[in-house]
């Protein structure tokens, strides 16, 4: 296709897309308009029936808890698949794998900054996971923050990541336990209350750390699963780079 024809195609497509976008945007409720009934209803359900103050958590883990289960399993399968592919490639290089090679490591400033940040980042991840039902955040966001700690460890010095004490096995266990815990909570709801994902724990007082019943358990499960999945993929990538 000539450049001229491509430009023409782009301009035509951009005009149509722009028109449709504008049409859609104009139909959106104005920010000053009163919230739609669904917004008030989901807030009311989250606070009064599930005792969580973060409505988004109430929607994600109660009203559409089954979708979240599906999403979690998608991430689980994707991370496992990526790890299997990367590992198959790594085996090809196993003969060339000699750990005696000394890595000069990262420059001093970077090493100090990264090492100093690992602890606070881990605490931040735990905070985001544990308060997902009270404030914005939750298992997914906290899980990725946990994985960020691994990147910091790597930035502090490559040699740390290739230590003989390899965390890959424990990462896999964390990921699997997180995924299994969500399924088990869903099944427990089916057994105890007759409906999958139905709450079967004490709801507590809305706004307290221990409240929301199964939602808090699900947040921790998702946090473990996401932290495990992202860490697993990153570790496999890093191993490949370091080992070669």
């Amino acid at each position: 296709m000539s450049r001229r024809a491509r430009t023409r195609l782009f301009l035509g497509a951009a005009a149509v897309l722009g028109a449709v976008l504008l049409w859609g945007l104009l139909a959106l409720p104005r920010p000053v308009a009163p919230p739609p009934p669904s917004a008030r209803l989901s807030t009311s359900v989250a606070v009064h029936e599930r005792h969580v103050t973060d409505t988004v958590a109430g929607v994600t883990f109660d009203l559409r808890g089954l979708d979240t289960l599906g999403e979690e399993l998608i991430l689980f399968v994707a991370a496992t698949g990526a790890a299997v592919l990367l590992r198959a490639q790594r085996d090809e290089h196993d003969e060339a794998d000699d750990d005696s090679e000394e890595d000069p490591g990262a420059p001093g400033v970077l090493r100090v900054a990264a090492t100093t940040l690992v602890g606070p980042v881990l605490v931040l991840g735990a905070y985001i996971v544990a308060h997902g039902h009270l404030t914005p955040g939750g298992g997914f966001q906290g899980g990725v923050i946990f994985a960020a700690a691994l990147v910091l460890v790597y930035a502090a010095g490559k040699t740390l990541a290739t230590d003989p004490v390899h965390p890959v096995a424990s990462i896999e266990i964390v990921e699997a336990v997180g995924a299994a815990a969500y399924v088990l909570v869903a099944l427990a709801g089916l057994v105890v209350a007759g409906v999958a994902l139905a709450n079967f724990l004490a709801l507590g007082t809305a706004g307290q750390l221990l409240s929301g019943g199964t939602i808090l358990v699900l947040q921790v499960a998702v946090g473990a699963e996401v932290a495990g999945a992202v860490t697993l993929v990153l570790t496999e990538f890093l191993d490949q780079l370091v080992l070669e």
Binding site: P136, G137, Q141, V144, A147, L234, L238, L241, E244
Partner: protein
Amino acid sequence: MTVLQLAALAVVAIAGTVTVFVREPLRQTVVAGFLGLALAILFLVFGAPDVALSQIVVATVAVPVMVLLALAKLREEER
């Protein structure tokens, strides 16, 4: 619409356009990180802190690191 919201929209538009026009993958990763941060601020000023938090962790932690690792891997293979 407040000034803050308009400013956030403008920054996202600029960052998005720049991301498309930067052709070098390494630089594009950094610029795309800025776009992700701008999007997070946009979500925040439009009242969606949960989405903003997800956007921050995905756009500034997960995606850049994975893209950088993939780039490093490709370079090693070229050598």
